[in-house]
Amino acid sequence: MIRKKRTEILIKGSEEVSTKLAQEILQAYDVKTIEASKNSLVMVKVRESAQRSLFYLGEVLITECKVMINGFLGIGMVKGHEPSLAYNLAIVDAAYNGDLPETKAWTKALLLEELHINENYEALKRQVLKTKVNFDTMDVQ
């Protein structure tokens, strides 16, 4: 599964999923921590719509971590102070970068989690759309 999609699922979804996948790798491989989880900043570059130019909106606190498995580097990056999630994300990333056989079986679990995320999104959408205004034209006497 491509990185963009899997990081979306692992961060939007339950932390149990990334923990389970990382544990699977930790039990079977030697995982070297290259850079333990630590806080840093990401500057947000945004496009404004008046002249479609770019500007910096501000910074976001993230936690990032780097690990290595069989010579393959993995990076975990997540918004906020989330040291264990960043570590687990880095392990999963290294596993995919190294094309470890375990990753073949992960697609199903990730797609299942994506379904849960979509269900939550649909629930949120229903609540938000209840606030949509239904204009009635007033009768003219």
Partner: protein, 378 residues
């Protein structure tokens, strides 16, 4: 008179800090950071926006430490931010990708996707709700549970993550000029001191991190001082924007190779200003120009005011101070303005003594009045 270096006050400062702690704790109850994060959403949004650092947990801690003073909380956040490395820049965030939770237009009644009120104080009665003083956690949890499970058919298929922009209608009908993407790298006021004339990216960065009250007040000044200026909110939307970071070890940076790191809540405003222009035949026409506002969190008044100031600064030269970028941009930063005002509390013994000497000197030639002010000498 020579300068005399003095020192002292260490013990007094230590005791002053104890008094500060005592004032925070004297009522015998400690404010839990999690409760600040849960119940003070708007203050947290304001502090994150003004400090230009997005993290609710740190903002809650700063608010606790600052005993609820936004300017002090922003100072703490900016100071903490300066200790962290900036390792990454996000991929370009397009606000069209917002997962919208609120979206209104005061220009058009019927807009594609509809007017979505979301969560806002605008429709409340603004009467003090005394029941809240008795509110308990259990009731809150039950209410939230019931609300989430609340039934009711919603047949609306609107995709809140792909809502068309209201102003696209005006662009499609030639009532507003269409711009191509300008991908020039933005300037960064946190890396380079501001020089005038400022670039558009610097202006927008300073406005978005400006003090909410200052930005709002100057936006109000713009409406009152610039004659017939009465913009209309083309669209105000609030929701979450996804953030992606490039793979630092892959220079190709394919679209699908990026890291998703989470989402941030923002408010975006596009404001319409009807302005006279000359067409290619030299005839006078009216065209809509756009003011732009975008800031962290749900900060609607600030975002609207930002869009007004954006337009004022874009127009530039005028007899009104509000069109002067030095006047606006140098005075709206929370840390700079509160810091400069606060410095007046610091010892100015030598400079004041010099002024005092000047006053005495100028009075020497005048007839002596009763008494003298020797006891004022320091």
């Amino acid at each position: 008179m020579g300068y005399v270096a003095v020192k002292g006050g260490t013990l007094a400062i230590e005791e002053s800090l104890k008094r500060l702690k005592y004032e925070r704790l004297k009522k015998g109850a400690v404010v839990d950071c999690q409760r600040i994060e849960s119940g003070m959403r708007c203050l947290i949004d304001q502090v994150m926006s003004e400090s230009s650092l997005y993290n609710e947990t740190l903002a809650a801690l700063a608010i606790k430490q600052a005993e609820g003073s936004p300017e002090e909380a922003v100072f703490l956040m900016r100071a903490y931010r300066s200790t962290l490395p900036r390792n990454h820049y996000s991929r370009i965030v397009e606000p069209e990708d917002m997962m919208v939770e609120r979206r209104i237009s005061s220009s058009f009644k019927d807009i594609p996707g509809g007017q979505i009120l979301g969560a806002a104080n605008d429709y409340s009665h603004r009467l003090l709700d005394f029941n809240l003083s008795e509110e308990r956690d259990e009731e809150a949890i039950n209410w939230v549970g019931d609300y989430v499970l609340e039934g009711g058919e919603v047949n609306d298929r609107t995709d809140l993550a792909n809502l068309p922009k209201v102003l696209d209608y005006l662009r499609e009908n030639g009532l507003m000029s269409v711009c191509d993407n300008d991908n020039r790298e933005p300037d960064d006021v946190t890396k380079e001191s501001l020089q005038f004339p400022a670039s558009r990216s610097e202006r927008l960065q300073i406005l978005t991190r400006g003090q909410t009250g200052a930005v709002t007040s100057l936006g109000y000044v713009a409406l009152r001082s610039s004659g017939a200026l009465h913009p209309t909110v083309g669209e105000l939307r609030m929701g979450n924007l996804p953030l992606y970071v490039d793979n630092p070890f892959n220079e190709q940076n394919e679209k699908d190779d990026g890291y998703y790191i989470g989402e941030i809540k923002v408010t975006e405003v596009e404001t319409l200003f009807p302005e006279d222009i000359q067409n290619t035949n030299g005839e006078k026409e009216i065209e809509f120009k756009l003011g732009y506002g975008l800031c962290y969190g749900q900060n609607e008044t600030k975002a609207i005011a930002m869009s007004i100031l954006d337009r004022c600064l874009e127009v530039g030269e005028s007899e009104h101070a509000i069109n002067d970028e030095e006047f606006v941009l140098l005075h709206i930063d929370s840390v700079e303005s509160s810091g400069f005002i606060s410095h007046l509390k610091l010892p100015h013994y030598v400079t004041f003594q010099s002024k005092l000497d000047s006053v005495r000197q100028s009075k020497k030639d005048l007839p002596q009045t009763k008494g003298n002010n020797e006891e004022l000498q320091s």
